[in-house]
């Protein structure tokens, strides 16, 4: 009996792996390969220092993703609140003992690796809100009480992250939460009310912004304001895009990047570099791959059997969408430069692991056949 059950579980695991969406995983691998190739070019045609490490990290993160995908949905449901609160505590800890990096406190140094709780919170908040909304009724959602608790749940981490200060992540978290509020059916006028009062509070928020953040916004509004300072990045980035033209300058031949006119070419501005070398054909293709990935994600949400899974997928997909949109928009001068990388392409461990974990969770949610989660245990 025990033997049978074990065999059953074994078969179950392989069955689960085989039932993972191959097209979804394929697109993820494709993006990681594009990232590796671009980083190879960013180093003037060398595997070091970025491309090889990027590939290795992806390998590790891929294992993490599959692992996350195999965990039973019910475990996520059960652990949702606890995970959220632990992450919230970690965020608080960053405020108190945080490691100073890039002029902002974002990491906790564990010696072997640095943990960035704000990245964990992107998953934590989604799980928290998904569980909360799946547990209450439609009437509850429409009631004030039903909205207040998740709103506080979202604003607490957002506030802590603004204090770090990491405007980009805070904004992403806020929009993700907003999308989830929208998804569960919160009335439109409540949104209007919040947006209106937010607009009224804008001047107050402005006064709390750091000087460099104010500069970024002002430079965004007028890049020529400071052509040698902050605006330099955007001007050089636009030159790289434009000079790439339709077909691009060719792999390893992007002059803007290889002659160092483009800053941060391996992290935030990697899409610029890719577009310079591969032209509009390349940039639209990369954009299309991301659209496909997101589309499959939303399809998972439609098909998912239970409400919790649907909401988690919507939250995490929105998070990924925000990465792609904010990154591409900011390097083209559509949004201010807020320091958001392009997942799977940009070099950097934190985003790689957090985004792969979220892909794992999305796969897990899509793979779950459980209609009803065991809420009653």
């Amino acid at each position: 009996m025990l033997q049978l059950e074990f065999a059953n579980r074994e078969e179950n695991m392989w069955g689960k792996i085989l039932r993972l969406s191959f097209s979804y995983v394929f697109l993820i691998i494709l993006l990681a390969i594009i990232g590796t190739v671009t980083l190879y070019s960013a180093a003037n045609g060398a595997w070091n220092p970025w491309a090889l490490k990027h590939l290795a990290r992806f390998g590790l993160a891929f294992v993490l993703m599959v692992g996350m995908a195999l965990i039973d949905v019910r475990h996520y449901y059960r652990a949702a609140y606890a995970f959220y609160f632990v992450t919230l505590l970690l965020l608080l800890a960053v405020e108190v003992f945080g490691h100073i990096g890039m002029g902002a406190q974002r990491w906790i140094n564990f010696g072997l690796f640095k943990l960035q709780p704000s990245e964990l919170m992107k998953i934590g908040l989604v799980l928290f809100m998904a569980r909360y909304f799946s547990a209450i009724t439609m009437q509850g959602i429409h009631s004030v009480r039903g909205v207040i608790i998740p709103a506080i749940g979202a604003l607490l981490p957002v506030g802590l992250i603004i204090l770090e200060p990491d405007l980009g992540t805070a904004l992403m978290l806020l929009i993700t939460a907003g999308m989830m509020f929208w998804a569960v059916g919160v009335e439109w006028w409540k949104f209007a009310l919040v947006i209106a009062s937010g607009g009224a509070a804008l001047p107050i928020i402005w006064s709390f912004l750091h000087e460099y953040q104010k500069n970024r916004v002002l430079t965004f509004l007028n890049p020529e304001r400071d052509p040698l300072g902050t605006g330099y990045h955007i001007i050089q980035s636009k030159i790289a895009f434009g000079s790439g033209g339709l077909w691009g300058k060719g792999f390893l031949h992007g002059t803007q990047t290889h002659l160092n006119f483009l800053p941060e070419k391996h992290t935030d501005f990697i899409f610029t570099m890719f577009s310079e070398e591969f032209g509009l054909i390349g940039s639209l293709s990369l954009l299309f791959i991301n659209i496909l990935l997101l589309a499959i994600g939303y399809l998972f949400a439609f098909r998912a059997r239970n409400y919790f899974a649907k909401l988690v997928i919507i939250g995490l997909n929105t998070n990924y969408f925000l990465y792609v949109f904010i990154n591409t928009a900011m390097v083209m001068g559509v949004l201010p430069v807020v320091g958001v990388p392009l997942p799977l392409i940009s070099y950097g461990g934190t985003v790689m692991f957090s985004i792969m974990a979220s892909f794992g969770i999305i796969l897990c949610m899509s793979n779950s056949s459980t209609k009803k989660l065991s809420f009653d245990d």
């Binding site: 009724t137 439609m138 959602i141 999308m179 929208w182 998804a183 569960v184 059916g185 040698l228 050089q236 636009k238 030159i239 790289a240 895009f241 434009g242 000079s243 790439g244 033209g245 339709l246 002059t255 803007q256 002659l259 160092n260 006119f261 577009s275 032209g279 509009l280 940039s283 639209l284 954009l287 991301n290 659209i291 997101l294 589309a295 939303y298 949400a301 439609f302 409400y307 649907k310 909401l311 919507i314 929105t318 969408f321 949109f325 591409t328 928009a329 083209m332 559509v334």
Partner: protein, 602 residues
């Protein structure tokens, strides 16, 4: 259960909206990509190239200038310059400040640099300091890490070994100024020099050569990554001029402290063998931009060192013009060798009394004697008989009254008056008095030393219309020289007169005579009034020259040639306020011609 279905339904409906929102966002991204990479592509492609490519100009070495014997008159010396390339430094003022701590710039230099930084394009280097010594160069090299954008350039500097000797012939080069037309990008290169005057200016394009360019790929920090393209350009062409430096030196020295000009011509070819104007200046001062102090000194000097008196100075030719009048009269047939006029020291023409320089008069004399003594009365008479228009025609035939273009700036045409000229410019009729005045080279008549030398050369070479030139004419060009329609017999008569001026016992310029192995000089003196002598002064006694201030003294002239039989050299000497043609100008001319004979210039 129905509640759960309701929740699912709302969720799916709202999800559609989220998907649409995402799509819309990506449409924005795609449109933006299209805009940047297609519609604005050309603009950004240019900007990308501007980022990437830095064009530097290669300055070709300027052509050399040699004298007729191959002596170097103008060459290029090595010169170390500190340049600032604005695009290679992030903080220009910081770089300049650091540089100033090592090698202070004068206020003037500092201002120039600030001006250049503002006006020039960022990739064009700006000259901070030139003529760097070795220790200064090494100081900059040592501190190179603190001086981004500073480059040491090994440039070439124009150098004139003979300094003031050739200032008026060669002119000088100088930095391109705002007034110069900038038709070549070379003109924007710091330290690039263009001809500013003299032959340096006349043959500027030939001497400059073709500028080259080198296109370099540079990275964001200005480091040169590789050379993309190089156009080496071509060196400036060298020129050889007809002057003999030894004769030039002798002529310059002969003037001593006098100010004036001398021109020596080869009477058969028109080659200018020497051309001096004194006082002179050192053209090397101009190479790197002359200081205001020096410039003002030169500008305000009453002896006008900046003016080339040989071609720009216009003087009344005085008695030297009697050569022209004599020929005109002989050719017109109004006088001949046996025609005598009686000089009584003065004569009335119209309502005015005209004097001979010799108040007691010369008595009766013919044309040869009139030239020898430089009798004024004879030439008043001869001029009135032949008439101004024939004198005018003869003078023009002999090269006066026109610009004899030898390539120098500001060449003057002098003035040979005629009846028509006076009617047109003065609106009055020509009078007999005007003719008489012109007959002794006074009144309206004006000539440059170059014209006087040409006039004499055309006479003594037997009437060939040589043109003065700085370049050896080819055999073909020599064959093309026209013979003027002047009788050889008449020329011999005038030459006889000029021989007597110097060599006869009672010739006016006897003191200047020489006899080098039987070779002698002929010539004609001239002394011209600068001031008007009033009737009162004439009555009370004319003030002696040496008691007059310098600028009121008479100009002294002499035109001479040698040898007598087969003339080779003609010289014209003008000594400004030299008082006496015979006593001051003739000895100078004599010294120059003797040197020419000794050198036996080929």
């Amino acid at each position: 259960m129905s509640n759960q279905n309701e929740k699912d339904r709302v969720l799916n409906r709202r999800l559609m909206f989220i998907v649409l929102l995402n799509l819309l966002a990506f449409v924005v991204i795609a449109v933006r990509l299209y805009y940047l990479q297609i519609m604005e592509a050309d603009k950004y492609r240019v900007m990308s190239e501007e980022n990437r490519i830095s064009t530097r100009f290669l300055v070709p070495p300027r052509g050399m200038i040699y004298d007729r014997n191959g002596e170097v008159l103008a060459k290029n010396n090595q010169d170390f310059q500190a340049l600032l390339i604005a695009e290679q430094t992030n903080d220009i003022s910081q770089t300049v400040e650091t540089f100033q701590k090592l090698l202070p710039l004068s206020e003037e230099e500092d201002e120039k640099v600030a001006q250049s930084i503002k006006n020039r394009r960022r990739f064009i280097p700006i000259k901070l300091k030139s003529n760097l010594q070795w220790d200064e160069v090494s100081k900059i090299m040592l501190n190179a890490p603190d001086l981004p954008g500073i480059e040491i350039n090994e440039g070439l500097n124009r150098f004139y070994p003979y300094a003031d000797l050739y200032a008026h012939v060669l002119g000088y080069v100088g930095p391109v100024s705002d007034r110069d037309k900038k038709d070549s990008p070379l003109y924007l290169v710091p330290g690039f020099k263009i001809g500013k005057s003299g032959l340096e200016k006349a043959f500027d394009y030939k001497l400059q050569g073709q500028g080259g360019t080198v296109k370099l790929e540079v990275n964001a920090y200005g480091r040169v990554m590789k050379e993309i393209e190089r156009d080496a350009g071509s060196e400036g062409q060298s020129i050889q001029i007809s002057i003999d430096s030894r004769l030039q030196k002798a002529a310059y020295k002969a003037f001593g402290e006098h100010s004036g000009a001398a021109v020596v011509l080869d009477v058969h070819t028109g080659e200018i063998l020497a051309l001096v104007s004194t006082p002179s200046f050192d053209p090397n001062l101009f190479t790197n931009g002359i200081s205001y102090k020096h410039w003002n000194e030169l500008l305000n000097n009453e002896r006008t060192p900046l003016i080339n008196k040989a071609v720009s100075g216009q003087y009344s030719p005085g008695s030297t013009f009697k050569i022209v009048v004599a020929l005109a009269a002989l050719e017109a047939g109004v006088v001949d060798v046996d025609t005598h006029f009686n000089c009584l020291g003065g004569m009335d023409i119209g309502s005015n009394r005209f004097h001979c320089w010799k108040h007691v008069g010369h008595g009766p004399l013919n044309i040869i004697e009139a030239l020898k003594y430089s009798c004024d009365i004879y030439f008043y008479e001869a001029a009135m008989r032949v008439g101004i228009d024939k004198i005018h025609d003869m003078a023009l035939k002999l090269g006066m009254g026109q610009v004899l273009d030898v390539g120098l700036d500001n060449q003057k045409s002098g003035l040979i008056p005629s009846q028509e000229w006076k009617r047109k410019t003065k609106g009055t009729f020509w009078t007999k008095g005007d003719t008489a005045n012109a007959g002794i080279g006074q009144g309206y008549v004006l000539a440059t030393p170059l014209q006087l030398a040409t006039m004499l050369a055309r006479v003594v070479n037997g009437g060939y219309a040589i043109k003065p030139t700085f370049f050896k004419p080819s055999a073909g060009e020599l064959r093309k020289i026209k013979r003027l329609d002047i009788s050889r017999r008449h020329i011999e008569i005038v030459k006889q007169g000029m021989f007597d001026v110097v060599n006869a016992i009672d010739g006016t310029a006897r003191k200047a005579r020489f006899n080098l192995d039987g070779v002698k000089m002929g010539g004609k003196t001239g002394t011209t009034q600068v001031r008007r002598i009033s009737m009162r002064e004439r009555r009370t006694g004319i003030i002696r020259e040496e008691n007059l201030p310098w600028r009121l003294r008479n100009h002294a002239l002499f035109v001479g040639f040698t040898p007598i039989e087969k003339p080779r050299y003609a010289v014209a000497v003008v000594v400004e306020h030299g008082s006496s043609g015979a006593a001051v100008a003739a000895p100078i001319a004599s010294a120059i011609l003797q040197e020419a004979l000794r050198l036996d210039i080929k």
